[in-house]
Structure formats: structure tokens, C-alpha cells
Symmetry: C3
Subunit: 346 residues, 3 copies
């Protein structure tokens, strides 16, 4: 009688992680979780309203399998997704609420076989806007037309409930725009995305005075081609004046939605995947984030190799190895991840 | 095999809100959510025990669609509802746990077409006890008998887990009573409710010394009559010695379950709703809260106009406009809300 | 189409609790909840992978019926359980994540008719390791073989996400091992379990310097025999150098996973249950925890009497009375619990 679907996915394994600098070394061996994809459960539903129109909703919770706690997103119940909207085959889809930006939806999977998953192998470690969520967003996406899909979203405040503007003073909210184009035609996929956010002009706890009123931009382009025996991925992008997702190692690095006036980072990815027998697949990628504007910031390079083996349509085993150099632009800071795990969808 | 039902509702839109005083103005344009009804999901179940007796339970979570976070209620998982009980057609229903008081159940919908929903258009902005939840409550409600239903609840501590009483000292808990009568007969509905809570007599973090041991009372009466082309609502009530629900604007106003010895507020509502075609309905209401006891406290008046359009039984579009004067009894403090949105039940 | 099962249980009632020392008395009358079993809801699923192999998962949330809030476990969403694993009839079951230790699974129900439930009547108030959960655990359990089942688990950090070890310094995590044997043969059940955890050797916020690097051990043995008209339970165990579960009364007592070098506590339980008619059952138990190593620590004795009446397979009424002396080893500190309630599974 009710069309609600309860869904989710779980992911856990055993791994080794090490972060090493010139005078610093941290390591752990033990349980890993959420590597292939973040642990999550959610509810989604669709109701036919007639005339091809549907009401659609989705709420999604992220959690950690190691402790049972909610994951990042400031401990929010439905931190991964919370939207309500309308969709039709003819007109496309309009959603209101919190969800991922267009770069996460269109760019990440095209640019790398690891997409935005697999921890430090994720394309998002080099491409600032490739794994980001905005609050308070109105998003519209067209239906697929001749292989093309277009999407655009506007967020009234990218992080947290929208603030009131006081006495005609500065804007207290982080306004964000996300847009992009996805093209799919047989073996070819291509994506072009653009994101920007503007830090508050009003005095604000989160941003220092010299970080206010700055417009941070990121554009990204990627293509992939599936030759059957092998699938190639490549992408390029640029982020200016700040950073979208978090890029932190200990005290160093950049917070989520941070502003650094004048910063310019070029991002590169090349990836390849190939089926191995009926159920296996091998994945490899190199990403680089090159901070052009800063003399003491170093190029971050990450080399990743993965393997997945499908036990069923819903359950995978996986192995991952990844090595990162100059992590978060810190000279000689290295990060290593080796792990094996299991992933299950329901 | 299991009788549990997963249910919920979602609500989001676009709106404008402004709060304006003599030397103060705050405004925001953007996403609104939970206006028509708070975003929620829940589980409920019924088990037949034989002899007409049933075990019944319900747990319900409130959240914000703009951020995915849990809503108010101190971030509680099931902050909207958590009860277990027994019910029978012959004997009525007995519940244990956290739930809304009798005034929220019987009075709010009879007194105003907006009920306890639609943000500042809610009857609860003027009637202190019309949208309140108590923890630790034993509640009994009769079955409907000749159009009448009677309910009564006792809360061992209205807000939070019950505290231990130390060394025979004062009572550390907020004891609350809620009771009322609902009458439904064809086009006529009427409700009479009474609520009281007593602040702790023991020394307490939440209450100052002069706020302890005070009994806060609210009684409310309302009737509505459905003339088919139009439905009329009216209500009157009085709250003494404090305030039940929160009535805060910035630093001013009254907290939830607050005590103010000698305060006396008279509350009024007149409302009307009318169908517009097959799927539409127009709603209007005026509420006033008149602080009789305080010279510098001003009468709060709120004028609200709404429209709902049913896309289906489960999905509505709505528009709302509301203007409030002397908000929270503050002279010349005005609050405006204009919004359009969508609401969906599952 | 999806094999996920939504389940849970709820429990609430009315009760009286008193804690009384020489110069101290605290009491409350009111709503009790989670006495017979903690309020919980969860999701679990099983997927056949072929060859007798199954993917299995379970996530479980604990909450309080009196307030709707999440219960203990540091407010974690799935604080009771979060695992993903594989199982087969031939090879047994392997799980990764957070769950109860082997003593909770094998020992508690054999040692006492109250198992780890019924608040202070629980066997866990005397047996330190009988109601404990570890994070970051790899657990393997054999299938039942000739009445025997064996289980073993290793936790990389028993409480919280696993920490990085810095610069080759001390271990920052609480490593834990849990293992045991369960035997079931007709009316006879027996269990033998062993648990240990080692506090961090690295400097740590949670442990003082003299509490670091200590290995805390607990072994436990129990048997029960069902004579049809009556079922007898008995158990014995010892905990050394600390305490596994929390044993706190006000400021006194022992925190969860605490280290006290040289502490030695012997634990005893004798219990009995007997059916009363078709739907009733009477339960009784005595537990003692005897701190052998400390002169000023006193023997804790708890005497408990309970009654359950099944309204259906899923719904029970219950009554409980329990009296504890020298609670948490504090001389003459007494705790009394009297309550009646209802418990419902879905």
C-alpha cells in the first residue's frame, strides 16, 4: 500500500594505513569500513500523480560499521541525502533539500574507475568539487535527450540551516551554484561541470576576515571510453580561491568549503579498468593535484590499484592498494592504504 | 509476518521570512521546510492479542529537509513520539512514553484550520499548550462514545529522563497533567482541554530560585462547524504563571515549560476554511495572545492566509502568507512569512 | 525483492527505584523502560550467494521509550550492533564490526534466568564481562557441532574508532579478545567464556598513567538444567585487574573498560525459573560479586524475583522486584527496584 523502499549498503574489511612525513609517522592495522562505499541506509519513494508526473523523495543516513556511529556530516541523521521533489519523463526532475552536487553526480564516475569511492583512491582527493553535498538546494535535472543530460542547482546555504541577514548587513550564508552536462553514447561517456560558492560577507564564526566574500570556483571535464577489454578514463579540472571538500591531514590542509584568495590548483586523473573473468574487475588510477599558485605547496600524486570480485549482484569482495605523495600539498607527506574487504547492498 | 508500518511525511518549499523591530531587522529568502507539517519518519505496529485487545506502539523521528539533521527536541532520535500501549474498542487506549498532550490532539485542529502546523500560522503561537510533548507519560483515552472522547495523561517528568529525589528533599521533576474532551457530531466539533505542569521544588539548573515550585496552568476551549461551503473555527484559552511551548525571538521571549509567577495570558483564535474546486482549499485565521498581567507586554496578533492544492491523497502543494505583530509580546516586533511548498506523505 | 527485515522491541512500565546509603537516599517513582529488554529497532538481512554461503548483516539502534532519545553508547545511531559478514552451515559465521562479546552471547542466558536483562537483576551486575560490546571486532563462530558451538573475536579497539599509532610509540587502542564455548544437549546447557582487554600503553585521555598497559581478564563458567517443572541455573567467574562493564552509582564505582591493577573479584550466580500455567513463568536469582583483593570493598549481593506473563508470542507483561546490598562494593549502599511493565517485539 505504501511505495517506500528501504535500502542501504554496508562495507567492512581489514587494512593497513600509514601517514608518514619527515619527522612524523602514524599507522594503524585493523578494521576498515566504508572504503568501497560509505555505510548507509535510506528510505526512498515514488508516487504517480497522473500525467506522467511523480512525487519523489529520498532520505539517506551514513554511519560507521566499526562503531555504529553516524558518519561525518556533523552527526546528522540523514546527512547523506534529504530531498523531496517532482519528476516526469518529459520535463525532468526538480528536487528540494540536501544532496550531492552535479560534479559528484556526473563527473566522478566518468573521470575515474574508482569514482568518488575507495577512500584515498577517490577522484575527489584531487578534484575538490567531486564529492560535495550542499544544504538548502533547489536542483533541476533534464531528462536524457539524445544522450545528453543537463543539471543545475542553487544552494541558499551550502552548510547548515539558512541564516537571517541582519539589518541589511552582509550576506551570512554560503551561496553555491552547481551545474554540468553529462553525455552518454554507447561506449563513450563525457562530463563537464562547474561549481562555485561564495563565502559570507557578514562577520562569521567560520571564516576569518580575509576569507569572507570570496568566490571559490571549480570546473571539471572528463571522458571515458569502454573498449570492452579495457575501459579508459581521463579528467582535468581547476579549482580557484579555495577548496570544496575537506583535505586535511592532522592540523594541516584545507577545511570543507574553505577560501584561500589566489589559490589555483590544477587537477588531473587517468584511470583504467578491465574485467578479469566473469566476476572480477581490476581498477587503476593516477591523480594529481598541482597547486600552481603557491611556492611551498607541492604537487600531490596518488597511485591506486584495486580489484573487485562479485559474489552476487549485491555482494562484492575487494582489494585496494594506494600510495599518495605530498598529501594535502605537504612536502614529503606520504599516505599508504592497503586493504581487503566486503561490500553488500540491500 | 511482521505488522510494522514504516511511514512518514516530507515538506519543502521556497519562502521569505522577516522579523522586524524598531531598531532591528532580519530576513531570509530561500528554502523553507516543515512548514505544512514537520518532516518525519516513523514505525508503528499493532498486534491482536485476542478478546479485542491489541498491543500498539509507535516511534517517530523529526528531521529537517534542508540539512538532513534531526529537528529540535534536543536532537533525540524519536523526539516526536515513542510509546507502547494496549488498546481495545471497548476499553479505549493506554499508552506509556513520550507523546503530544491532549490539547495538541483534541484542541488544535478544532480551533483553527491551520491546526498546530504552518509555522507562525499555527494556533500554538497564541495558545501555549496547543503543541506540546511530554516525556514519561501515562496516557489513557476512552473510545468514542456518542461522539465524545475523553483523555487524560500524567507525566512523571515532562522534559527528560526522570530524576531521583535526593534525601527526601524537593521534587526534582516537572510533573505534568493533561486532560480534555473532544466532541464530534456531523458538522460540529468541539474540544475542551486542561494542562498543568509544576516546576521542580528542588534546586535545579534549568529554573531560577523564583521559578521553582510554580504551577503553570492552561485551559482551552474551541468549536468548529462545517457549513460545506465554508467551515468556521473559533477558540479561547488562558495560560497562567508561565508558558508551555517555546515563544522565543532572538534573546526575548519564553522558553519551553517556563514559569513566570503571576503571568496571565488570554488567547483567541477565529478561523475559516473553504473548498476551492475539487482539489483546492483556502484557509484563513487570526490569533491573538493578550498578556493581561504585564504592562509592558503587548498583545500579539497574527493574521494568516493559506491555500492547499491536492495533487493526490498523499501529495499537496501549498501557499502561505502570515503577518504577526508584537511577536512574543515585544512591542512593534513584526514577523512575516510568505512561502510556497510541497508536502508528501508515505 | 529485498530481503531486509525491520525488527525491534519496546518495553515500558511503572516502577519504584531507591538507592540508599548511610547518609544518602535517592528514590523515584514513575515510568520505567527497557527493564525486560532495552528498547531497540534494527535492520537485518541475508542473501544467498550459492554453495551454502550467505552474506549477512545487522544494524541495531537502542533508545529510551521515556524520552525518545538514543540510549547510552555515546548517542550512537546503531550503538547496539553493526556488523557485516559471511555465514555457511558448514563453515560457521564470520562478522566484522561492533557487537556483543562471546560472554554476552553464550554465558548470560545459561547463568541466570534473567540473562543480561531486567536491570539490576541482570547477571551482568555481578559478572563484569556478561554484557559488553566491542567496536572494530572480527568475530568467528563455528556452526553447532554435536551440541557444541565455539566462538572467538578480536577487537582492534574496543571503544571508538581505531586510533593511529604515532612515531612507533605506544599502542593507543584498547585491544580485546573474547572467546568461549557453548554446549546444548536436551535439558542441559553449559558455557565457558574468556575475555581480556589491554588498556593503551600510549598516553591517553581516558586512562591515568597507572591505568595504562594493564591486561584485564575475566573468565566465566555456567550451566543450566531444565527439569520441566523447574529450571536451575548456576555460574561462577572471576575478573582481575579491572572491570568490563560499567558499575557506577553516583560518583562511586567503576567505569566501562576500567583498569585497577591487582583487583580480583569472584562472581557467583544461582537462579531458578518455573512455568506457572500456560503463559506464566516465575524467575528468581541471587548474584554475588566478591572483591577479594580490597579490604574496604564489600561483597555485593543481589536478590531478584520476577514474573512474566505472555499475552502472545510477541507481547509479555512482567513484574520485577530486586534488592541489592553493597552496590558497586560500597558498604551498606542498597538499591531496590520494583516494577511492572509490558514488553513487545516486532
Amino acid at each position: 500500500e505504501t511505495s517506500v523502499i528501504l535500502y542501504g549498503s554496508l562495507d567492512g574489511g581489514i587494512g593497513y594505513q600509514r601517514i608518514k612525513g619527515d619527522e612524523f609517522k602514524a599507522s594503524r592495522k585493523g578494521m576498515i569500513n566504508g572504503i568501497r562505499s560509505e555505510n548507509q541506509w535510506g528510505l526512498k519513494g515514488t508516487e504517480d500523480l497522473g500525467g506522467g508526473l511523480q512525487a519523489v523523495f529520498r532520505v539517506e543516513s551514513g554511519f560507521n560499521l566499526d562503531t555504529g556511529d553516524t558518519s561525518e556530516y556533523d552527526d546528522r541523521l540523514f546527512g547523506r541525502h534529504a530531498t523531496l521533489g517532482l519528476q516526469s519523463e518529459a520535463w525532468g526532475r526538480l528536487d528540494l533539500g540536501r544532496q550531492t552536487n552535479i560534479a559528484s553526480k556526473y563527473f566522478a564516475e566518468v573521470a575515474s574507475p574508482f569514482g568518488e569511492d575507495f577512500n584515498q583512491a577517490s577522484v575527489a582527493t584531487a578534484f575538490s568539487a567531486a564529492d560535495v553535498r550542499y544544504d538548502n538546494m533547489v536542483m533541476y535535472q533534464t531528462p536524457e535527450l539524445g544522450g545528453f543530460q543537463f543539471g543545475v542547482g542553487y544552494s541558499f546555504n551550502a552548510d547548515g540551516s539558512q541564516q537571517y541577514r541582519l539589518n541589511g548587513g552582509g550576506e551570512p550564508n554560503v551561496r553555491a551554484i552547481t551545474t554540468g552536462l553529462l553525455y552518454e553514447n554507447g561506449p563513450l561517456e563525457a562530463a563537464l561541470t562547474y561549481d562555485q560558492f561564495k563565502t559570507p560577507t557578514a562577520v562569521n564564526d567560520q571564516y576569518d576576515d580575509d576569507e569572507r566574500g570570496i568566490t571559490v570556483r571549480s570546473w571539471n571535464v572528463a571522458a571515458s571510453y569502454d573498449f570492452d577489454v579495457i575501459k579508459l578514463h581521463a579528467g582535468f579540472g581547476q579549482t580557484r580561491n579555495g577548496w570544496f571538500s575537506e583535505m586535511e591531514i592532522g592540523d594541516a590542509g584545507l577545511e570543507e568549503l574553505s577560501a584561500v584568495d589566489g589559490l589555483k590548483v590544477n587537477s588531473y586523473v587517468v584511470g583504467v579498468s578491465a574485467p578479469m573473468g566473469n566476476s572480477g574487475e581490476i581498477l587503476a588510477a593516477w591523480t594529481m593535484a598541482d597547486p600552481r599558485s603557491e611556492d611551498d605547496a607541492k604537487k600531490q600524486n596518488i597511485y591506486s590499484l584495486g580489484y573487485t570480485y562479485a559474489l552476487s549482484k549485491r555482494t562484492d569482495l575487494y582489494a585496494i592498494g594506494s600510495y599518495a605523495k605530498n598529501v594535502a600539498f605537504q612536502e614529503d607527506l606520504k599516505a599508504t592504504l592497503i586493504g581487503v574487504g566486503m561490500s553488500h547492498k540491500f
